[in-house]
Each structure stands twice: as C-alpha cells, then as structure tokens.
C-alpha cells in the first residue's frame, strides 16, 4: 500500500483552504497510511487556544485531536519555522514532531505520494 504525505502550508483562517486540507487528510486516513507535515504559516493551524467566535469561521483546530483516532499519528512540523514563530511544541494542540530541515527532505522521499494544501 502506498503511503501519503499531506503537506499543509496555509494559515488556519482567512480562507477555507486549511480546513479543506484537514478534511482531505481525514479522508485519506480511511484508505491509506497517512502522515501530515506543517510548514510555514501552516504551523499556525496547530496553535492551541484558537478562538473564532468573532469571525463566523469554524474553529476546525478542535478536529486535530481526532487525528490519532483516525490512525494518523505521524504529524510533523519544521523545527526551524516553529522557532522562527517563537513557538514551542507545547503551544500546539496535539503532539507534533519538530523536524530539522534535512529530516524534512527525508520525509518527502520516504512517501509515495505528496498532496499539497
């Protein structure tokens, strides 16, 4: 069975793109072994304590907690970019492995299919 890597680079709000990326990941997990990688502003999707009550947008960050139930336990982000944003792994809503840049390159090559969101 092929392995899928979902790469997420969009900030959580401002468009529905990040939410639709997570939807695709959840669907993928029903069919195949899936990993998720968060890069750039995509890391902000994982930020704990988001409040969208005043923007009429769905707080889909609550859904990340369900990833483990869907069998997605390989969730990664860039350590460099996490540091750039002044964030720690403990600021994120789920457990995320912060990878060095060379390990991110290896992550891409270890998966059969890459889907960008």
């Amino acid at each position: 069975m092929k392995t899928l890597l979902f790469v997420n680079t969009r900030p959580p709000h401002g468009s529905v793109k990040a939410q639709e990326g997570l939807d695709a990941l959840l669907m993928g997990s029903a069919f195949a072994e899936c990993s998720a990688l968060y890069l750039g502003d995509g890391i902000l999707q994982l930020l704990d304590g988001q409040d969208t009550t005043q923007t009429d947008q769905k707080n889909f960050s609550l859904t990340f907690g369900a990833l483990r139930d869907y069998g997605v336990d390989q969730v990664f982000c860039s350590k460099t970019q996490l540091d750039d944003k002044g964030l720690e792994p403990s600021d994120l809503v789920i457990n995320v492995a912060a990878l060095a840049d060379r390990d991110i390159a290896a992550l891409f090559s270890s998966h059969d299919v890459v889907l960008n969101f």
Binding site: E20, F31, L115
Partner: protein, 130 residues
C-alpha cells in the same frame, strides 16, 4: 503512465485550471493516460456552466468539458467544496431545494475518496494551484 491531475485554483482568478488543461493535453499527446481529474477547493468553480467570459477570452469550463468528452476523461468535483461554493448538479439542487443547477454535465460530483483513490492508483499525481 497513468496521471491523476488535481486542480485547487479557481478559473480566471488563478492560472491553475488553464495550466492543468495544458498539462492534460500534453499528457494525452505523449500517449499517456489520465486516470482522473479532481477539482478541489476553489478548483470546483471550473465546472460552473454559468461561466460567461468576454468574447475575446477562452471559456475555461467549456475547454475542460470538451477535452473530457473527446477523450473520455473523468472530471470530478469534490462535493463538500462544491456545495459550499454553490456548484450543484441537478440532484443536489433538488435535494437542497435550489432553483438551479450550475455544474456542467461533463463534470461529476463525488467525494474526497476519489482524490485519495487517484493518489493510490495513478502513477503520478500532479497538483495545480496552491
């Protein structure tokens, strides 16, 4: 080789549907197969048959529909993305009691599973638009 093509960008707002169309033509011209074209996110607008560009611009929806009809290519729009953007076939228009359907018949509404299936079964999956 079997190619799956994914389109994320909206027609006219974004180059993605036209770049994907050029790529699809090149794939066929080289003798390869297109497993499926999956329109996701703003890409679902590509199937909107109400698209009416000025006369000196191409009709991107029509170009895709013609390519698909001539070459028997499956064009899928994601149902969740399409419904929230008002792209509905007659079945969905009836179901949600909307006064009109907007999806061109060359396109089919289906689920995200078709995207995953394309990733698993095509030799290459190529995404247009971010």
């Amino acid at each position: 080789m079997k190619f799956a093509i994914v389109v994320h960008g909206a027609p006219y707002s974004d180059q993605a549907p036209l770049s994907a169309l050029s790529f699809a033509r090149a794939v066929l011209a080289e003798g390869h197969e297109i497993y499926r074209v999956f329109f996701y996110q703003d890409g679902v607008h590509t199937g909107n048959r109400a698209i009416t560009p000025p006369q000196d611009e191409v009709n991107i929806q029509r170009l895709w529909s013609e390519l698909a009809t001539d070459n028997h290519i499956e064009l899928i729009v994601c149902i969740a993305s399409a419904l929230r953007r008002g792209v509905l076939d007659q079945t969905e228009a009836d179901r949600y009691e909307k006064s009109c359907a907007s999806l061109d018949p060359a396109f089919t509404i289906s689920g995200l599973g078709q995207l995953i299936d394309a990733g698993l079964n095509a030799d290459r999956l190529v995404t247009f638009g971010c």
